[in-house]
Amino acid sequence: MFALIDCNNFYASCERVFNPILNKKPIVILSNNDGCVISRSNEAKVLGIPMGAPAFKYQSIFKKNNVYVFSSNFPLYGDISSRIMNILSSFTPNIEIYSIDEAFLKFQGFNNYDLEKYCKKIQKKVLKWTGIPVSIGVGSSKSLAKVANKICKKFPEQTNGVYIIDSNKKRLKALKWLEIESVWGIGFRNSKKLKEIKVKNAYDFTSLNDSWVRKKMTVVGLKLKKELEGESILDLEEIRAKKKAIATTRSFENTISKFKHIEERISTFAVCCAEKLRAQNSNCSSIYVFIKSNKFKKLEYQYRKGIIVTVPFSTNSNIVISKYAIIGLEKIFKSGIKYKKAGVIVMGISSDKNYQMTLFENEKTKHKKLMKTIDFIQKKEGQNKIKLANQDLKKRWKMKQEKLSFNYTTKLDEIITVK
């Protein structure tokens, strides 16, 4: 059996642990630079604040309903997450950390266990030790565990946050309840395709002909169908696969028009991507650069453009990635536009181990050594101590985090005080 454990409104719950006055109050957490809503407490969901709501548009709704607004505090969320994952791994040796607030557990050889009791124990321990409420869905495949978890979330009173699909009757009932667009892995396109042939829920989907599913939705769709039928096809991915694309994108607090300023941002994003590449021992072979005007200012001239630049060799050097990103920027930059957002995405990622030499042009070997030294110094002295010359024009770019809570678990001078 598989269990999917999902922290309820994770970021909002983290804030509540250290600030219990927020219990039962509406909370929203904003993305980097306080751009849009990325986490909501149930109370905020009830107010009709959607996921991804731009903060400036909802300012008056926040005020009117006394919504507590927070900037995202990733050092805190990351620490609480790692505590939870460690607790979870004490319950089974097979665990897949699926995201910051989700994990799959595999219960193999647990035949003599009452899984419902066991899950209640997990739930209780995580809550007691960390203060975070979790929902646990269990099924004979990962996809069914996901479905069971959806049921926990939808019916918290009836399930108390634990639901186990352990009979065919329960499975059929769950699949008939689950709308096709909410099925894990179906996606927008497929659900549209399926609705056209009157497949409304997960049960309808499992009633389709295997060969039809395979033809229209490839083997991935067929695997999903088998999973929903109760057969376990997808196993745990215990070793996290390396990322296939790495992105650093940001909205700016104020709009930028000057090339020099955009160039600085792009260079900084490029360096950030290079650092992420090195952290997973990878290189990239192409770079996507984009710039956008403010889409919410409808009256202003709208401009959005992106470009892919191919690097002649695979690289993870700050200098090279920044250089090619700027070459791309020069091609798409248009003056007179008020830019609000920009980003760098690196693609064509390959591992250090299978580094492909090219015939004519290769990276200077000096770079590898230099980057190693830079990484070493930054690890010792702190991030962003060494920069390229085109980065950071007198530190104008502090991240906007106006409503940041404290780092209660990672900084000694920010811990809670008790009277």
Partner: protein
């Protein structure tokens, strides 16, 4: 008589291969009698934090627990995994703020007892919203 040639064996200097890595160093003297009894140095982290996942920290503000040795500015180590019980010192959240007090259970009633005569005990009744947040296991003070 033919002179016998003497050939000298000269150690190769330039070749670094095949050198032995010896951790201890080769000493000509008597080996340290302590080597067989090596232990790990005392770690306060390990001693004070029994359950890493459930341990949090707090700073004391005020003097309500002076009698128990908790003074203004002291650092508290809190273990959330410990079950609250009579006489334990706990960090609680009551009526909108964090407080540290001793738990007292008397004839089915719950009290939070300060350890300073200037303050009076708090009786918990149904109107109070009380969260027993964690149990204090150590207090660290700078002298």
């Amino acid at each position: 008589m033919k002179k016998e040639k003497l050939s000298f064996l000269i150690p190769k200097k330039e070749n670094n291969l095949g050198q032995w890595l010896i951790d201890q160093g080769i000493s000509a003297g008597f080996p340290s009698p302590a080597d067989d009894f090596k232990e790990v140095r005392i770690s306060l982290d390990k001693e004070l934090v029994k359950n890493e996942e459930a341990t949090f920290y707090a700073r004391v503000s005020g003097d309500s627990m002076q009698g128990a040795g908790l003074e203004n500015g002291d650092l508290l180590i809190i273990d959330r995994s410990i079950e609250p019980s009579n006489n334990k010192i706990a960090v609680c959240f009551i009526d909108g703020e964090f407080t540290v007090k001793r738990i007292k259970i008397e004839s089915k009633k719950l009290y939070l007892i300060p350890e300073n005569k200037k303050y009076s005990p708090i009786e918990i009744n149904e109107e109070n919203e009380l969260i027993i947040w964690g149990i204090v296991t150590y207090v660290i003070k700078k002298l």
